[in-house]
């Protein structure tokens, strides 16, 4: 009925990369906040609002650049709201995150109705999508061309950002202070640096990345907005962040793993595997990933303590 060669094709690698990008962008933002000791589950809501704003801005301006910028601004604003709730009014960060997620779902519905007079979904040929990038120097060989060329701009950008954040976190003073904000906030304060400011910075940066993730969903991967179109991808980002050990490069690999389960699933289904089982795979993978990373964390903790 099916053969492995039909599943493991070059196009599967493409699908893996495509499906990993929104997860990766969300997870990068989550790393930054997690290092400052904030588990920002509000990223799902940030992505959803940004996805909507990206479509709206692109529709009105006819430019995807404006779309991305507007999405980033929207992401930062929602993140700032989250900072207000958590840092200023000291609400529990999970509660703040859930509040943001519920708010975003209703808020995008509201805007959809008010700005475009539609419910459920919005698309139009006037929405300008984020282009795919054709790098002619990769066309030297068909395999290389299939593997590396013609991805969406955001797919490339996400990979570049992995290395940018790896540098920022591990090679700069800013990164050192950020990491210490999570590990030992008292030491940071003693050093004359405000923990609250650091946390605020982290949240705003996660807003930027959540904004990019949202813009990718609605302008990059597809060119439309549908209610709740994030469909839990922000939460899978949380899983990828833990699975990747809260570090950019390993989190990238974790995101690719989640993208891979989606890509393989899409192919296995057409081979006649029961859809219920296949559709479960990304979530089962999430449970395993979290379990695995928690066991690892526990081990680390026990190793550190001599008794």
């Amino acid at each position: 009925m099916f053969s492995l060669s039909e599943i493991f094709t070059l196009t599967l690698i493409r699908a893996t990369v495509r499906m990993s990008t929104p997860i990766l962008l969300a997870a990068l933002g989550l790393i930054v906040t997690e290092l400052a000791n904030i588990t920002n589950i509000g990223v799902e809501g940030i992505m959803l609002v940004s996805a909507f704003i990206a479509v709206a801005a692109s529709y009105w301006s006819g430019s995807w650049v404006v779309g991305i910028l507007a999405a980033v601004v929207a992401g930062v604003l929602i993140a700032a709201l989250m900072a207000l709730i958590h840092l200023k009014f000291k609400a529990d960060v999970f509660v703040a995150g859930i509040a943001i997620n519920l708010f975003s779902l209703a808020f995008t519905r509201f805007l959809l109705k008010n700005w475009f007079g539609v419910a459920g979904s919005f698309y139009s040929p006037r929405i300008s999508p984020i282009p795919r990038i054709n790098l002619s120097f990769l066309q030297i060989h068909p395999v290389i061309d299939t593997l590396f060329n013609n991805y969406n701009l955001m797919d490339y950008l996400a990979i570049v950002l992995v290395f940018v954040f790896n540098f920022l976190i591990y090679k700069t003073v800013w990164g050192l202070r950020l990491r210490f904000t999570g590990v030992h906030p008292a030491a940071v304060e003693t050093g004359g640096i405000s923990v609250t400011t650091k946390k605020l910075q982290a949240l705003l940066i996660s807003g930027v990345l959540g904004g990019l993730a949202g813009a990718h969903l609605s302008l990059g991967y597809t060119t439309q907005f549908i209610e709740n179109m994030t469909n839990g991808r922000g939460f899978i980002g949380v899983a990828a962040m833990y699975f990747g050990g809260v570090a950019p490069i390993t989190t990238w690999l974790a995101s690719l793993f989640f993208g891979f389960t989606e890509g393989v699933g899409a192919r296995l289904q057409t081979m006649g595997f029961p859809s219920q089982f296949i559709l479960m795979m990304p979530y089962v993978a999430t449970v395993f990933a979290i379990t695995f990373s928690m066991i690892r964390q526990q081990k680390k903790l026990t190793q550190k303590q001599p008794f």
């Binding site: 991967y221 597809t222 469909n231």
Partner: protein, 341 residues
């Protein structure tokens, strides 16, 4: 004591007056959805039918949307409780909910589209989606043979992407397969479910993967998820088949035809019955090829996009098959539980 009595009396008076004034007011119809408007498909179609009823009969319409299963029962009960004359539950997912609750509101008239509830105050409308899909499958099997068209490969492979894996979608699939095999017994049909009716990203990914596996035309049976399916066809220069509503014009030249499930007609008919007093609880309205409840579009959008390249033969074949199903020469199979009695 007396005070309490007074309050009760005055309250019942208010209620009485309320009921009397209501009798003069227009028929109130509530539409309860298991999803959102704007899907350009199932939900929008039901809404359109009722908007037509608003124009024709001056009814008062209220629409309740939610994609959270926990809300569906609440919404339905709330509308019945609010005394709407007709509460239409639009989708098969309301079947159990209505079965449980219709008995509590014996004076409220209910309608269910795409499911059967055998209660004295429920009218059910069911579609022969298998018959409509039979035509769609035949159209797809013909299309994949037209190698001269751009984007059509030599492989005899067609695709099908559904939303959630629920019985009614299997009824679509059963007909689609039969229709495809009627045209070409050796055809390969790729099948995927997205597990959601509101995830266009996954819908697009599943469709891209079917194209990569040799399909050149994919049928969409996925509501909001389906928007991603149609977009994939447009971007890859391949083809798709729309569902429920006429989706041909969303990406002209990419959507060969749409299988029309006249949900609007069913919603309209139920309302008409209530308005005209012919509503009869327990009745089942069968919407099939014979009474125009299901059909394909006339492919005029595709014809305009392709010009002289358009294979006119396909229209003749579809017409011939329509006749054969109508006069019983072809019996379209149903998925278990959807067989007519």
């Amino acid at each position: 004591m007396n005070k309490k009595l007074l309050i009760v009396l005055s309250l019942s008076l208010v209620l009485l007056i309320g009921t009397v004034t209501m009798a003069a007011s227009p028929v109130r119809v509530a539409l309860v959805l298991s999803g959102f408007l704007g899907d350009q498909s199932f939900n929008d179609s039901a809404h359109q039918g009722l908007l037509r009823a608003v124009e024709d009969f001056g009814i008062e319409l209220r629409v309740l949307e939610s994609e959270v299963p926990a809300d569906w029962e609440q919404n339905l009960v709330a509308m019945a409780d609010a005394g709407y004359d007709l509460v239409i539950a639009s989708s098969t997912q309301f079947q159990d909910i209505l079965e449980r609750n219709a008995g509590y509101f014996p004076h409220i008239k209910f309608g269910i589209i795409d499911g059967v509830v055998e209660q004295p105050n429920v009218v059910s409308a069911v579609f022969a989606q298998n018959e409509g899909s039979f035509l769609a499958g035949a159209a797809a099997a013909l299309w994949t043979q037209y190698d001269h068209l751009p984007g059509v490969n030599s492989e005899k492979t067609i695709g099908w992407v559904g939303g959630m894996d629920i019985p009614v979608l299997h009824d679509f699939l059963t007909g689609y397969r039969q229709g495809a095999q009627y045209i070409d017994p050796d055809i390969r049909v790729l099948v995927s479910f997205a597990g959601s009716f509101s995830d266009p990203v996954r819908g697009k990914e599943l469709t891209l993967s079917q194209y990569e596996q040799g399909a050149d035309i994919v049928m969409n049976v996925a509501s909001g998820t389906g928007n991603g399916i149609l977009e994939a066809a447009y971007e890859e220069g391949k083809y798709a088949i729309g569902v429920d509503l006429d989706q041909d014009g969303i990406y002209p030249g990419s959507i060969v035809t749409s299988m029309l499930k006249r949900i609007d007609q069913a919603a309209y008919l139920m309302t008409q019955q209530v308005v005209e007093g012919t509503y009869e609880g327990g009745q089942v309205l069968y919407m099939d090829i014979a009474n125009g409840g299901v059909s394909l579009t006339d492919m005029s959008v595709m014809q305009a996009a392709l010009g002289d390249d358009f294979p006119a033969e396909i229209l003749e074949v579809i017409e011939e098959l329509t006749q054969k199903v109508r006069n019983g020469e072809i019996v379209v199979e149903s998925y278990e539980g959807f067989r007519r009695n």
